[in-house]
């Protein structure tokens, strides 16, 4: 046997009994940044191929959704900070060993890129938004300038989109103390997931048959790749250190088994994969809207589970016999 019992109190907030320092704010941030990355990449690729008229939703409308997403992501990240008064310190230093420091600076470039992509598509994508902007000289100039430089911005957006999606996965990987999320496959998994969420948004928003056909095939391919990467990630952990092997127990018979398989893998990955395979035959009836909605749900759940399971897993596994109710009893006497 091996039993380790805490015999003095250890009940640190959000640390005990298991680490829970990253909550819904970080999960939503990772999801929204992934969506922005996908929006950057798809919009930029359409512009670079000169297919903006054919795939107008992707080129003209998707960037604004990405811009809103990154705005919300930053807001959620700010809400997560427990010492908000010094949030500006993120920009007071660059720490090359800290993945989050890279992220803080890269996100500034991503915001700039998605803003420029939004502006280049505003006139045709959102005319009702463009008209008040054009009433101001500087607004008109900004729209013209964004349209003029859209190709170099698109090149930069492809690179930034890949890097920022990789960042979301690498942030998890870099936390070696959290065995479940320390697989090297997290970065490509989060990239593919981010692309899938953006493709799902196109399928929800676009009314263009050709665009929907292209993204049906794209989403099917991305989902198939995501399933493969998820399987490889689990295999990677199963062949890892003792801590990594043990970190898999919650999803293979432990507390997270039902949540992982019944509420994530099946509805968030396999069901939309089957539905999109049906869509490959060329038709996309109205009921298929369920598929991209499930893809968005699955992408959120992926991050939720990897953040939660990452925090639950660790090197420390004490039996904590401390009962906070005892303090109440003391107070009564």
């Amino acid at each position: 046997m091996r039993e380790e019992i805490l015999i003095t109190v250890r009940d640190n907030y959000k640390i005990d009994p298991t680490v829970s320092v990253w909550g819904w704010q970080v999960i939503a941030d990772l999801f929204l940044v992934g969506l922005t990355a996908g929006a950057l990449i798809f919009a930029a690729l359409v512009i670079l191929r000169g297919k903006e008229e054919t795939f107008d939703f992707t080129a003209k409308r998707l960037p604004l959704i990405g811009l809103i997403s990154i705005g919300l992501a930053m807001t959620f990240l700010f809400l997560k900070l427990t010492h908000k008064i010094v949030f500006w310190r993120f920009f007071g230093a660059f720490v090359p060993t800290a993945v989050m420091s890279w992220g803080a600076w890269l996100l500034q470039l991503v915001i700039l890129a998605i803003l420029l992509l939004t502006l280049q598509g505003l006139r045709k994508g959102y005319p009702s938004l463009a008209s008040p902007v054009e009433k101001f000289g500087i607004g008109r100039w900004a729209l013209n300038w964004a349209e003029r430089i859209k190709r170099p911005v698109a090149w930069a957006s492809v690179v930034l989109g890949v890097i920022i999606a990789f960042y979301t996965g690498t942030l998890m990987t870099s936390m070696d103390a959290r065995p479940f999320s320390s697989s090297g496959l997290m970065a490509p998994l989060f990239l593919v997931s981010g692309l899938a969420t953006a493709a799902a948004v196109v399928l929800i928003g676009s009314r263009n048959a050709e665009e929907r056909r292209l993204f049906t095939g794209t989403l099917f391919g991305l989902l198939a790749f995501k399933v493969l990467l998820l399987a490889l990630t689990l295999a990677n952990l199963a062949n890892g250190s003792q801590q990594q092997i043990e970190s898999l127990h919650p999803i293979f018979g432990g507390d997270y088994t039902q949540l992982f398989w019944l509420f994530f893998v099946i509805p968030g990955l396999l069901v939309p994969l089957v539905i999109e395979a049906f869509g490959l035959r060329g038709k996309r009836p109205a009921w298929m809207i369920i598929s991209p909605v499930l893809v968005l749900y699955g992408a959120y759940m992926l991050r939720q589970l990897f953040v939660d399971l990452g925090q639950v897993s660790g090197y420390i596994d004490y039996v904590n016999t401390y009962n906070p109710a005892l303090l109440d009893l003391l107070g009564m006497h």
Partner: protein
């Protein structure tokens, strides 16, 4: 880098918890939060069981993943030593250091910034031992410079069997346990 180390004799520790009380008093650690704690570890198969008491805290690793993960440089080393400290004025409470620490040795203060054991560097500065070491009634805790071959910690580690917690992390923890 000057390496300070703590050496704790598990054969002498009785798990009284005085080190925990001393730390809370010395560092004015708020109620409900703890920078150190005591673990009773039992291993073996009945009737061949072995029990040890371990007073645990931040390991002041020489390769501290918490320091590497901090995006604002709020986590830093004290005056060229391995003593890892947190500057509250730079800490945003992002939680990266907490996720990066394999010992779960950090805590969030009520004000929102992250805190941890400091090896009582304010006492070390004056040539004193950390409060937990100074208060130990069984004299099972020792503190000193590991690079000095004549220091108590060096001599104990040279002559006694010892271990550190989860060395497989590669963090090079500097709290040792004599077994």
């Amino acid at each position: 880098m000057i390496r300070y180390a703590m050496v704790i004799d598990t054969k002498l520790c009785i798990g009284c918890g005085d080190c925990v009380v001393a730390c809370k008093t010395e560092n004015k650690v708020p109620a409900g939060l703890n920078r150190d704690w005591v673990v009773e570890a039992t291993t073996g198969t009945y009737p061949d069981l072995k029990t040890e008491f371990r007073s645990e805290r931040c390991n002041h690793c020489t390769k501290p993943t918490c320091l590497y993960a901090c995006p604002t440089a709020a986590t830093y080393r004290w005056e060229g030593t391995n003593i890892v400290l947190v500057d509250p004025d730079k800490c945003t409470g992002c939680g990266a250091c907490i996720a990066a620490c394999p010992y779960d040795a950090r805590l969030i203060m009520n004000e929102g910034y992250v805190s941890k054991c400091t090896f009582c560097h304010h006492r070390v500065e004056q040539g004193l031992d950390p409060a937990c070491v100074a208060s130990c009634p069984t004299n099972c805790m020792h503190f000193g410079v590991l690079d000095d071959p004549n220091s108590t910690v060096s001599r104990l580690l040279a002559t006694r069997e010892h271990k550190a917690m989860h060395e497989e992390t590669g963090n090079e923890p500097q709290v040792y346990y004599l077994t």
